[in-house]
Symmetry: C2
Subunit: 402 residues, 2 copies
C-alpha cells in the first residue's frame, strides 16, 4: 500500500512530544536537577471534593442494575447539554440542546471539524496558536493552512486580517488565546463576525480558557455574546482547564442551527451525522462528573481552583517583569507569554531548562510569529510556582547569558 501523501507534510514530532524528548535528554545528563515543569498547560490541583465524591457514587452505581449504563446518545447526555446551556450560556436565548455536542475533549472535536469541512475548504488560523489546529489540517488536506499573525506588542495586539482570506474559509481562533494569553474584545469580535458573514467564512472559536477571564470584566466568554455570531461561528469548549478534567476527558462543541452552507444545507445536520458515525459519545462517567461540575457547589469549588491558578500566573508575571523580561498575557489566562531579547527559537527554552531547570514551551512551537517568545504556564503546583519564582529572581533576563 502507498503511504498517505499528506503525511509527508506533517513534521515528525508533535510539539509537546518534542518538549518531552528534550527534557528526558536533559534529565539523563543532569540526574540531580530538580526540574519544574511550567511547560504543558496541565492542571495539577486534585479534583474538587464535590466531583471526587460524585465519581465514587457513579462508580458504585455502575455496579448496580439501576445505575449501570451502556451506550449513551452519541451527542451526549441531554441533562449535561442542558446544564451547559443553563450555566455557561444563560444569556443566549436561541441555544437549544441539539446544538450542543458533548466531546471527549476539544482536541478530538477540532479533528472532527476538520473532517466535517472536507479537503477542499481553505483553512486559516490565528498564529501563534495551539498546534493541533495546524497539524490536524495537514492530515486531511493538501493545501497548508493560511496563518494569520496575531501577536501582542507593547502597543496592543495586531488585527486578524480575515478580509484577506479566500471566500468561504474555515478559521480557527482562540480567546483567551493559548499561548499569548490575549483576549478578543467585543468590538474586535463584532468586526470579525461581520467580515465572516460578508465572505462566507466559518469561525471555529475555542473557549477552552473562558473561565480565566476576570470576574467583572466586559471581555466576552463566548462568541455568541455578540449578536449574529450564530450565523458564522462554531464554539469549542473544554472542561480541562476550568474543572481539572484534562485526564477525565470532557468538552463540548456548539454548532448553531442558524449556521448554513452557501447552498442552505445545515452544518448542524452534517455534524450530527459525522458524530454518530465517528464517535460513540464521551465516557458516561466523565459526563456525569461534568453535570456535577456545573452544579452550584461544583461551580463554586472549581472556580476557586481557577482563581488559585490565576494567582500563580500573576506572581510568575511579576517576577519575570522584575528581572527584565517583556511579559504579555497572564491577566485573563493561565499563561504568560515572555519575550527576552537575544533569545529566540528553542534557545530560550534551553536557557530556562539549563539555568533554572524550568521546563517552558518555546513560542516557535505555536507558529513562526512565536519565534521570539516562550510560554509559561501557571498550572503548576503552588510550591513549584514559588520555587520557580525563586529561581527566576536569580536570572538576569535583560542580558541573559546562554
Amino acid at each position: 500500500m502507498k503511504r498517505n501523501p499528506l503525511f509527508f507534510n506533517v513534521s515528525e514530532k508533535y510539539l509537546f512530544h518534542e518538549v518531552k524528548t528534550r527534557v528526558e535528554a536533559f534529565k539523563k545528563s543532569h540526574p540531580d536537577a530538580q526540574i519544574i515543569s511550567l511547560g504543558i498547560g496541565d492542571t495539577t490541583k486534585p479534583l474538587a471534593p464535590t466531583i471526587s465524591n460524585a465519581l465514587q457514587e457513579i462508580g458504585q452505581g455502575m455496579g448496580t442494575s439501576q445505575g449501570y449504563k451502556g451506550y449513551g446518545p452519541e451527542l451526549g447526555l441531554v441533562e449535561l447539554r442542558e446544564k451547559i446551556i443553563k450555566t455557561l450560556y444563560p444569556q443566549i436565548s436561541w441555544l437549544d440542546s441539539d446544538e450542543v455536542f458533548i466531546s471527549d475533549g476539544a482536541k478530538s472535536d477540532i479533528g472532527r471539524l476538520q473532517i466535517l469541512f472536507g479537503d477542499t475548504t481553505p483553512v486559516a488560523l490565528q498564529e501563534p496558536s495551539y498546534p493541533a489546529y495546524f497539524d490536524s489540517s495537514l492530515m486531511i488536506r493538501q493545501k497548508r493552512p493560511i496563518t494569520l499573525s496575531c501577536v501582542p506588542t507593547p502597543n496592543g495586539t495586531s488585527r486578524l486580517l480575515l478580509d484577506t482570506l479566500p471566500k468561504g474559509s474555515l478559521v480557527f481562533i482562540c480567546s483567551p488565546n493559548n499561548p499569548t494569553g490575549t483576549v478578543f474584545t467585543r468590538s474586535e469580535l463584532k468586526e470579525y463576525i461581520e467580515i465572516s458573514k460578508m465572505n462566507g467564512h466559518i469561525l471555529v472559536f475555542d473557549v477552552a480558557y473562558r473561565e480565566y477571564i476576570l470576574e467583572g470584566s466586559d471581555l466576552p466568554r463566548s462568541i455568541y455574546e455578540i449578536p449574529g455570531a450564530e450565523e458564522v461561528a462554531i464554539e469549542v469548549g473544554s472542561f480541562s482547564k476550568s474543572c481539572g478534567f484534562s485526564g477525565i476527558r470532557l468538552g463540548w462543541t456548539v454548532v448553531p442551527k442558524a449556521l448554513r452552507y452557501a447552498d442552505g444545507h445545515s452544518v448542524n445536520k452534517d455534524f450530527t451525522r459525522l458524530i454518530t458515525t465517528l464517535f460513540n459519545g464521551a465516557s458516561y462517567i466523565s459526563q456525569k462528573a461534568g453535570i456535577i461540575a456545573l452544579s452550584e457547589q461544583g461551580r463554586k469549588e472549581t472556580l476557586e481552583q481557577v482563581s488559585l491558578y490565576k494567582e500563580s500566573t500573576k506572581k510568575l508575571k511579576k517576577a519575570l517583569l522584575e528581572r527584565g523580561a517583556k511579559v504579555y498575557g497572564g491577566d485573563h489566562a493561565p499563561y504568560v507569554w515572555v519575550e527576552i531579547d537575544t533569545l529566540t527559537g528553542w534557545s530560550s527554552f534551553d536557557y530556562f531548562l539549563s539555568k533554572a531547570h524550568i521546563v517552558t514551551t518555546p513560542g516557535i512551537g505555536f507558529g513562526p510569529s512565536g519565534e521570539k517568545f516562550l510560554r509559561m504556564s501557571g498550572f503548576a503546583r503552588s510550591d513549584d510556582i514559588d520555587e520557580s519564582i525563586n529561581r527566576i529572581l536569580k536570572l538576569n533576563l535583560r542580558n541573559p547569558i546562554e
Copy 2:
C-alpha cells in the same frame, strides 16, 4: 462556505438512529406495548464488582494530591498497554507496548484509521458488517468502498474475494462477525494474509467480540495468532462487549512495527503522529478501570458475564429454530442472524416489532447481502430474554403473516 461534497454521499441517518426513530413512532401509536430491545448490541449487566469497587477508589484518589492525574500519554497508560499484551496476547512474542494504542472505543479508532490511510486508498469491507466502516469511509473519500459479500448459508460461509481488489487496498473485516456471528478459521485467515501480502493490502481486523469464542475452540481470537499477520494487519479491539464498558469507552488498536507502506515508511510511526494530533488519550478513569478488568479477578468476573450473554444467545437461537426460522451465528458471538422466508428488508424488523414488540436490527442495515436477514442480540437482561422467548414461541416463523 461550500458544503463538503462528500456529505452528499452519506445517507441521512445512521442505522441505529433510524431504528430508534421507528421504535419511537411505534411507541407513540402503541403506548401500552411492553417493548423489549434485542436491537443494538449493548451490554446490560452491571459492572463486575471488582471494577465498580476500583472506580470508587479511582474517584476518591482523583480528589487527592497523590491520586490526581491530568493529561496522560496520548497513546495510553503504559501499564494498560502492557497488561493488554500480557493478558490478551500472551503468545505473540514480537508485540511491544508501543504497538498498542489505547482508544476511547473501536468506533473512534476506525474513523482515525480512515484518516490515516487518506482519501486515495481503495477501501473494501466484508459485508454485511458494522455500518461504521462504510459510513466513515464515505466521509473522507469520494470513491465508495468495495463490498465483499460474505454471508453464511446452510452450506458454509462464502469466501472473501480479496484477490479481486485493486492492489494496496485497505480492508475492514470482523471476526466473530457483527452481525452474522460467524468466525474466520485459521486456514481462512492464513489465506487472506497471503493474498494481502501479495497484493499490498492492509487488513483492519476487528476483534470486538473475541471473548465470545467458546473456550477450548481452536478458532483464532486474534489475527496475530497466524504467523506473518504482523506484516499486513492492524487489529482493533474493545472493552465494550467483554467487560460491559460500552458507556465507559475503552478500546485498543494494534499497529505492528513490521507493517510498512510500499516505500518502507512505518505505518506505526504515522499512526503515532496522528494519535498525538487528533486525540488526547482515553479517560484516565476508563484506563485504570481497564487495568482492573484485565486483572485475574477482573477477568474471572467479566468472563462470567460473557458466559451469561452466550447462554442467552443460545436460548434465543433454540427458540427461533423451533419456530421455523433459519438461524446462523450465536455459537461464538452474542448475535443470532435470522432468516425468515418471505420477510426482507425492514419488513422483518416491522414484523417482530408489531407482532412481538421486540426490537431487532434489520440485516439490510449492515449491507445489501443482509436483505433477507435480521440480527438479534443476546445482550438483553435475562428476564427480557426469557420474555422474548415466550413471545417468539407464539410466532409462526415458517409462514409469518404480516
